[in-house]
């Protein structure tokens, strides 16, 4: 970052390597390198798990990128080296130019000869009738009025040169900007993980890669509380406290001991009326040995707690182990009886069922599920969003280790005007959830559905009901009737085990092609009859009122169709259990970020310098004026010259104005 001004050419010749380090070309090259490296760092997602990179680039390029440090560009060795060279380059540039610029700021060049003055970019000569003294006074006043500092040089031949200098802060701009870069880099270095890297290299520090309780963490992954600078996070459950931080490091983490303890009393999440989060707040208490009373404060985003040289931020939130009361409904049982589980988020339960042994892992609870409305809903309600209410997320794993993940909603939600209980299921995290829609009955509950399902599962009872509903017509042979009943039973079983698709498939494999259409029509109508019969039985038990013609109401008819759709998809729902969230007690946890950043003030100081420097450099012009006065018999000969270190269109106009003022 060197300035090639005319003055530098007269400076002493420096060694070649110093020339190189301080050269403009090197500086520009380094700036460009820094830019390119930064681009790479933004285009290539940084600090991801290695598996993602291998999937993306293949093993070969993954190796190449990894060894170049492209996954963590900003702390790669070569990136640091570029920064270091930029620092040196700037440093050399500043030290080399300091003496020259200081001289330039101070010197008035009042001894410049008349001839030299006439070679300045702007110059003018004229004569005045006033004597030398008056002219000199006028010149000095004019200069002072214009803000110039002046120096007067009395020459041996009797003539006088007044030299004026203005805006020498322009030169300060150069120092400020360049020194600020060095200051900012030093500040950033203070907050970098260089010290940790050194300790890791010496073998004193080994990041922990396992997810283990705090007391089992490798002792070499601990950092003492006198660590110079850090930035880490910790999750604290409501009512709990913590005095450590976790710093992500390489593929693992480090544990930072804090010199104080933070207790979280409560975490709150507020929403706007459109469902967007409005604020995250934690009520915290800070305990420290030196404090008689703990500090109590509510922190939120943009409003951290500052304590000494630490800052405590609201950074994230999650579930802290909400208590859950669940009902487990068997989906294959012939009677609707459910069992009860009491558990909590982050806990695992074992289930012993007739369908096998399962482990249930509860992973999350959400109090609100705010989703956008469809266009029709928006028109109807005027709201953009609606709340689907509480949901739980959990995994069910069988003895072979196969797992299904579920997302169950606690309350019914409206879909196309009907109410459903939604339950999402998927076999791997990579898939989206497939949803089961259990239709809610008139009481907005699942009772009728499970009663109906149990009846469908209960083959003997179902058979009895169907026989009652369809007694053998008089003209029909016993054998034909029995065959029909068997068909009913088989259709129900097939439907229950494989849904509508199962029946279609059965027809495709067992019926000659030309008869398939007729058979399918017959089978589906028979299935519908059978199911309808069972459904009527349920309605009778409920004392549901039929209309005058003995038909069921439209709502009940739609419920029936929805229930059939739902039962038809049960065979893809995984293990035959449905988990119903009955009650809960939400316990949240808050994610705090805590930093100790001694370099921050250094960086801010550098930034302030930088801003001042930039303005000095662009908006303060260093200007010089010389006024040469020589006595003649009748008055004074005056020569005015001026030099502006930044030649602007207005420079000449200003000069002419200045001369006019002197003449007046």
């Amino acid at each position: 970052m060197s300035k090639t001004t005319r003055t530098t050419q007269t400076a002493r010749k420096s060694p070649v390597w110093l020339e190189f380090l301080g050269s403009m070309n090197l500086a520009i090259t380094l700036l460009v390198m820094l830019s390119i490296a930064s681009v790479v760092g933004t285009v290539l997602q940084q600090n991801q798990a290695f598996q993602n990179y291998i999937l993306k680039f293949g093993p070969f390029w993954h190796q190449v990128y990894n060894s170049l440090g492209l996954y963590d560009v900003y702390s790669a060795g070569w990136f640091m080296l570029v920064l270091l060279f930029l620092l040196i380059s700037t440093g050399v540039c500043v030290t080399r130019h300091t003496p020259i610029f200081i001289k330039d700021m101070r010197q008035f060049s009042e001894t410049l000869s008349l001839n030299a003055l006439k070679h300045q970019p702007n110059h003018a000569s004229f004569s005045s009738t006033d004597n030398l003294h008056t002219s000199q006074q006028r010149a000095l006043t004019t200069l002072k009025h214009k803000g110039f500092r002046t120096r007067v040089h009395q020459r041996e031949d009797g003539s006088v040169t007044i030299a004026g200098l203005k805006g020498h802060w322009n030169r300060l701009g150069y120092f400020f900007t360049h020194i600020s870069i060095i200051v900012i880099c030093i500040g950033a270095l203070m907050d970098s993980n260089l010290y940790l890297k050194l300790n890791e290299w010496r073998g004193d520090l080994v990041p922990e890669t396992r997810s283990v309780p705090l007391n089992q963490v490798d002792k070499r992954a601990w950092l003492s509380s006198d660590n110079f600078s850090y930035r880490g996070t910790v999750n604290i459950t409501e009512g709990q406290n913590a005095d450590v931080l976790f710093l992500p490091y390489d593929e693992g983490y480090l544990v930072q001991q804090l010199p104080f303890r933070i207790e979280v009393k409560e975490f709150r999440l507020h929403y706007y009326d459109n469902g967007m989060p409005k604020s995250y707040e934690s009520d915290i208490l800070l305990f420290a040995d030196e404090l008689a009373e703990p500090i109590a404060k509510t922190i939120e985003v943009n409003h951290p707690l500052y304590y000494k040289n630490y800052a405590i931020y609201q950074s994230s939130f999650g579930d802290g182990g909400s208590l859950l009361n669940l009902k487990v409904h068997p989906l294959m049982a012939p009677i609707a009886n459910s069992s009860v589980i009491e558990s909590a988020v982050n806990r695992t339960e074992s289930l012993n069922t007739p369908a096998g042994k399962f482990r249930v892992e509860f992973s999350d609870f959400k109090l609100h599920n705010i989703v956008p409305n469809s266009d029709e809903e928006r028109e109807k309600t005027g709201h953009k969003m609606h709340n689907n209410g509480p949901s739980i997320l959990f995994k069910v794993r069988n003895e072979q280790g196969q797992a299904w993940e579920y997302e169950n909603y606690m309350i019914a939600n409206q879909q196309e005007g009907r109410w459903f209980f939604m339950s999402g299921v998927r076999n791997s995290m990579a898939e989206p959830f497939r949803y089961l829609f259990i239709p809610a009955d008139a009481n907005r509950s699942k009772t009728r559905f499970f009663e109906f399902l149990a009846l469908v599962n209960n083959a003997p009872l179902a058979e009895r009901i169907i026989r009652n509903a369809y007694p053998r017509p008089d003209g029909m042979e016993e054998k034909a009737y029995e065959t029909h009943i068997v068909l009913f039973k088989q259709l129900i079983t097939l439907f229950r085990q494989a849904g509508f698709d199962g029946i279609s498939q059965f027809i495709q494999t067992n019926v000659p092609e030309q008869e398939q259409a007729t058979v399918a029509e017959f089978y589906f109508s028979q299935l519908a009859n059978a199911m309808q019969t069972l459904y009527l039985h349920i309605l009778e038990q409920e004392n549901a009122i039929l209309d005058n013609e003995g038909n069921i109401s439209a709502e009940n008819q739609i419920w029936f169709e929805d229930a059939l759709t739902s039962i038809a998809s049960l065979h893809r729902y995984g293990p035959p259990m449905f988990f119903e969230l009955e009650t809960f007690k939400q316990i949240q946890s808050t994610g705090l970020q805590i930093t100790k950043s001694p370099g921050k003030d250094v960086v801010y100081f550098g930034s302030a310098l930088l801003i001042m420097g930039v303005f000095f450099m662009f908006y303060v012009r260093q200007r010089r004026v010389w006024i040469h006065l020589n006595t003649t018999g009748t008055g004074t000969d005056i020569t005015v010259a001026a030099k502006d270190n930044k030649k602007l269109p207005e420079t000449e106009a200003e000069f002419n104005q200045f001369v006019a003022k002197l003449k007046a």
Binding site: L31, V32, T42, M276, V301, P304, Q593, K600, V603
Partner: protein, 385 residues
């Protein structure tokens, strides 16, 4: 002598009146809205008032613009207050619906920008003073409507829901309006100072592109709907960080388009020295100077904006620098213009290479402004497309 004296007195009293009105406005604003402001925001209010007074003194035309903007904005607010409800007001009040509701004003801005682009180029080819003057008028009016649109939108955001209320510099849509207004005004300043309207069409091209984007953004994505602020943006820092950034973007855009004009002139000089267009375009030296000034002011404000951004980040995210894509691209833009300035100042480069560089700089800047939101995700993902 007599005449100039009266003029000086007239000018002085105008300046005095300006200062008085601005201070009065700030004071009334403070009295009315003190409950909603914290200490920083009150400081910003009066800081902005002082800055505005200085700007009005420094650039007289700004006073006129501000009077118009204030009058129309207050009128709009008054009509809203008469009607009580935002939706009813927008339906019933003709003046509001078709002229000064924020959406109407922004539409007017868009139309005027496109007209101004055509007339500036028409004026350039015809070398017609009348057409040129019309273009300048159109550009001023466009800036005025954009400005009114922002002021009224600010008020409307509180009408939608008191909770939602915020200065309209938070979403990509809002900052685009800010960008258009800011750049037009900066351009108009240079136009006045250097007494040439030849570069208007070029600068307005970028504005037209922005207006077309905004139109797409409105009609395809309903981006104009007022949304509440996410927690990270609820801070007084936003009021200074964002506008400072857009002085930067504005300066860089002007420099790029002046660079294009320079390149056209240089190429004409070489290939078609007889071209009439050569007389119409200002000298390479003058354009070079404007380019430098635009980049210098842009760079200075971009530096401030980046530093303010770092300080805000330290308060909101817990670190003054996180190598977030937006931060990193701001650094890249900054490094790019730092290199441009170094080469110009110390190596004395001028003409074609610097013009090319300024033009390419526009793409780097656009990527930082838009591309990061479109292609990269990070902490700054507020205005995703």
């Amino acid at each position: 002598m007599e005449n100039t004296n009266t003029q000086a007195i007239w000018q002085k009293s105008k300046n005095g009146l300006w200062a008085l009105i601005v201070l009065l406005g700030a004071f009334i604003g403070w009295q009315v809205y003190a409950d909603n402001m914290d200490g920083y925001e009150i400081a910003i209010l009066f800081g902005v008032a002082l800055g505005t007074i200085w700007l009005g003194w420094f650039w007289k035309s700004f006073q006129t613009l501000a009077y118009f903007v204030a009058t129309f904005s207050l009128l709009a607010i008054w009509i809203y207050q008469l009607n009580g409800n935002l939706y009813a007001a927008n339906e019933n009040a003709f003046f509001l619906k078709y002229l000064v509701s924020s959406q109407a004003a922004i539409m007017w801005m868009g139309v005027l920008v496109i007209f101004a682009t055509f007339t500036y180029f028409f004026g350039l080819f015809k070398q017609s003073e009348f057409v040129y003057k019309t273009s300048t008028f159109l550009a001023w009016t466009a800036a005025m409507f954009g400005f009114i649109g922002m002021m009224v939108r600010w008020y409307e955001s509180y009408l939608v829901n008191v909770d939602y209320g915020h200065i309209p510099v938070s979403s990509l849509y809002e900052v685009f309006i800010l960008f258009i207004v800011m750049t037009i005004l900066m351009y108009l300043y240079y136009e006045q100072k250097f007494k040439t309207r030849a570069m208007g069409g070029f600068v307005m091209l970028v504005m037209t592109a922005s207006v077309l984007f905004v139109m797409w953004y409105i009609f395809d994505r309903q981006a104009h709907e007022i949304q509440p602020l996410i927690p990270a943006l609820q801070s007084w820092w936003m009021k200074i960080h964002v506008p400072a950034n857009f002085v930067g973007y504005g300066g860089f855009s002007i420099a790029a388009m002046v660079g294009v004009a320079t390149l056209i002139r240089l190429s004409l000089e070489k290939r078609r020295p007889q071209s009439r267009l050569l007389n119409a375009l200002p000298s390479v030296n003058l354009m070079d100077d404007i380019m430098y000034r635009a980049i210098a002011i842009g760079f200075a404000f971009f530096t401030i904006a980046t530093v303010l951004g770092a300080m805000w980040a330290a308060e909101a995210w817990g670190g003054y620098w996180s190598w977030d894509p937006k931060e990193t691209w701001a650094l890249i833009v900054w490094l790019n213009y730092a290199a441009w300035l170094h080469v110009r100042m110390t190596k004395g480069w001028r003409g074609a290479p610097m013009a090319w560089w300024a033009f390419i700089g526009l793409f780097v800047t656009s990527f930082a402004f838009l591309g990061v939101n479109m292609f990269l995700s990070g902490l700054h993902s507020y205005g995703e497309l």
